[in-house]
């Protein structure tokens, strides 16, 4: 008596390109939550300083940037105090590169679990994106603390209404890193070459993004080169919103948003195709 309520599953060699089961993804929301929890809890387990590392990491990076790019290379910070300027870039960039690297490793790092049990593989990179938000939160908290410190000291910075765009900025970073990450992870299941290359690409990408320099140091007629990079407008918008310097343009932001949607779309389609049989090649 195969009653009608029994849901039917069909397993066949090739699925359509666009057969993406988003409902299934929702059904596994508890798993999603568990992975997020696992990542947050286990990150610094059995370290003496524990979650304090979340603070130390951006602070040390800021100090290094102040010495290397501020003191030695003397790159402009748009007249802002160096810690404030670098920290604003580091917070967002760290989130982006974290998500990027982790999601680009999805298949290789989880092949053990993926080889034993089925669940929508997309849950894995999605939970990475969410769990990294936790680190971003802590780093933004440090940023706010430093910010308040400078305001008290009398530095003329003032957030403006564009700060309301922050959630959108984070969503854009998440979507972009997820898209690029899962495309990379799909391509690396068979040939690992790209994985090795990818670390360099991420590093290069940072220098192509106004993290340690403001967009304004580029000549106006050459700025379009930097703006091709979809992360640029996100960084600049954030700086404009909280520090009042930098370039803000709805056009640039819209471009980045469309770019993100396209990459994410391609990523989900490719990932969906690869996930079904990657165990044979990984």
């Amino acid at each position: 008596m195969s009653d009608l309520r029994l849901q039917k599953t069909i397993i066949k060699p090739v699925n359509g390109l666009l057969e993406i089961d988003l409902k299934e993804l929702l059904r596994y929301k508890d798993l999603w939550r568990m992975f997020v929890k696992r990542e947050v809890i286990t990150q610094y387990k059995q370290t003496v300083l524990g979650p304090v590392w979340f603070f130390i990491n951006p602070i040390l990076t800021t100090v290094i940037y102040m010495i290397v790019f501020g003191k030695i290379a003397k790159i402009s910070t748009d007249g802002l105090p160096q810690p404030l300027f670098y920290l604003s870039g580091i917070c967002l960039w760290n989130y982006f590169s974290n998500c990027l690297i982790k999601s680009s490793n999805t298949f290789v790092a989880n092949q053990h679990i993926f080889g034993k049990v089925y669940f929508p593989r997309l849950v894995m990179p999605l939970s990475t994106i969410v769990s990294s938000l936790y680190v971003l939160g802590i780093q933004l908290f440090i940023f706010v603390a430093v910010y308040v410190f400078y305001v008290i000291k009398g530095v003329a910075v003032m957030p403006n209404a564009h700060i309301l765009l922050l959630p959108l900025l984070i969503v854009m970073l998440a979507g972009l890193s997820l898209g690029v990450g899962i495309i990379t992870s799909s391509l690396t299941t068979k040939y690992r070459d790209l994985n090795i290359l990818f670390t360099f690409i991420v590093q290069l990408w940072m220098y192509a993004t106004p993290v340690i320099y403001p967009l304004s140091i580029m000549l106006p007629h050459r700025q379009w080169i930097a703006v091709i990079n979809p992360v640029t407008s996100v960084m600049e918008t954030f700086r404009y919103a909280v520090l009042g310097t930098g370039t803000f343009s709805w056009l640039y932001l819209a471009y980045s948003f469309v770019f993100m949607c396209v990459v994410l779309g391609i990523g989900v389609v490719v990932f969906n195709k690869v996930q079904r049989s990657f165990m044979d090649t990984v």
Binding site: M1, S2, Q7, V14, T42, F119, M279
Partner: protein, 422 residues
């Protein structure tokens, strides 16, 4: 209305042998050129040869499964048996959606949960309780379901005391217990189990098999069960299928399938010649004489074995052993001799061929099929000079004159006893 739970339509699965290298890339490009551009057939998907792992083939591609076509009814408990590499696990992997079939299709009605391993996704740093939630959600349970079942799970696992300790402090047995308990409390319509019951201690194995029985009989779930433990398959499954080299050989009642399988296993009756062996001490010839002809032996009769052992060089100590194994690979009889004492002292420092004659005055194995395993090693068993397994299949019958008195769960060995009434 139909009562099918799973329908396999001509499932085949192809694998490429060897490493993923530049060769793979060129094949990929060639395949893409042939199929996408020239719209021809995939050049590597030709009907290849049978997947026999012992023989070297000419193609780099093998079929792990070939045209598997059968149906599982709802509430059926189906056993899948076959040798290593016969395609059992591949079949389960396809059904569990870990990989896809190369050709063919499966239709399944209901939620499928597969247990190819216990404790998948356990994180060593998380506590037992946290891992119950972790593993449960990986297996497809919702948080609500786990909340409802957690007490039962803890109770069944018997590791309550350690529940708030990280799993990395657990013994391997405890991890298995916890892992199985979670899986056992899943409520899928179709449950797929691969060999996992083989782990854990005897007490827990019994509990686990009982639980699977419970799930299938009382809850009416469909279960697919893979195991090398033929006894477990026999207890659990009404029907079974037999796979060999990726093909479905036989399907039917479990008892018949097991009989066919064990009767059909390849047993050597002569020794294989292996050049590498010749340099070490090895068995040159083994002759076994049962009490009746054609490999039939009657209960309680004497059985004699004559071994020819060749020593290419002198050894100062050795051990000779043989086991008699039954169809389920269990070992009811073991004999060991060491060259440190007794008759075997004379094997020490010999060069060349010597003959060892062994006689078992009364072999009291219960009726069934048995075979031998011989081994020649150093006394501590660390260096094995030579071993011969699955040798000489023979059948024990109970009595020459009267009919056999078969017991349902028969013994393996019946010892002689002296009974006195005063």
């Amino acid at each position: 209305m139909n009562d099918t739970a799973i329908q396999f339509h001509n499932i085949s699965k192809q694998y490429r042998l060897g490493l993923v290298t530049t060769g793979t890339l060129s094949h990929d490009l060639n395949r893409w050129w042939q199929t996408a551009i020239r719209k021809k057939e995939d050049p590597y998907l030709r009907i290849g040869e049978v997947n026999d792992r012992t023989k070297k083939g000419s193609s780099d591609y093998v079929w792990a499964l070939r045209n598997i076509d059968f149906e599982v009814k709802q509430g059926e408990v189906l056993g899948i048996i076959g040798k290593n590499g016969s395609g059992k696990s591949t079949l389960l992997k396809i059904l569990s959606r870990i990989t896809t079939p190369t050709t063919g299709m499966i239709e399944a009605w209901g939620r499928v949960a597969s247990l190819l391993e216990v404790g998948t996704g356990f994180h060593p740093e998380l506590t037992g309780r946290e891992n119950i939630y972790m593993n449960g959600s990986i297996l497809g349970m919702t948080k609500k379901e786990i909340d409802r079942k957690i007490d039962e799970i803890i109770d069944f696992s018997g590791v309550e005391r350690y529940l708030d300790t990280p799993v990395k402090r657990y013994s391997s047995g405890m991890i298995v217990r916890l892992g199985f308990s979670i899986a056992a409390h899943l409520e899928p319509d179709i449950l797929v189990i691969d060999e996992v019951l083989a782990v854990g201690d005897a007490e827990f194995q019994k509990k686990a098999i009982g639980k699977v029985e419970d799930v299938s009989q009382n809850d009416g779930r469909t279960v697919l069960f893979v195991s090398h433990n033929l006894e477990a398959v026999n207890t659990l499954c009404d029907t079974s299928i037999l796979l060999d080299n990726g093909e479905l050989v036989k399907q039917g009642k479990t008892g018949d399938i097991i009989e066919y399988y064990t009767g059909n296993r390849k047993y050597h009756s002569t020794l294989e010649v292996d050049d590498r062996k010749l340099l070490r001490p090895h068995f040159k010839d083994i002759q076994i004489k049962t009490s009746a002809s054609q490999g039939i032996h009657y209960f309680g009769d004497s059985l004699s074995i004559s071994l020819q052992v060749f020593f290419p060089y002198r050894v100062n100590a050795c051990a000779l052993s043989f086991q008699i194994k039954d169809a389920a690979n269990e070992v009811p009889v073991v004999y060991n001799w060491y060259s440190t004492a007794g008759e075997l002292k004379r094997l020490v420092n010999r060069n060349g061929l010597c003959t060892v004659a062994i006689n078992i005055p009364s072999l009291r194995l219960y009726k069934g099929n048995y075979y031998f395993r011989f081994s020649l090693s150093d006394p501590r068993g660390k260096i094995i000079f030579d071993k011969v397994d699955e040798f000489f299949l023979f059948e024990v019958n109970m009595s020459k004159t009267s009919n056999e008195w078969g017991w349902p769960n028969g013994p393996k060995y019946i010892e002689t006893t002296v009974c006195e009434v005063k």
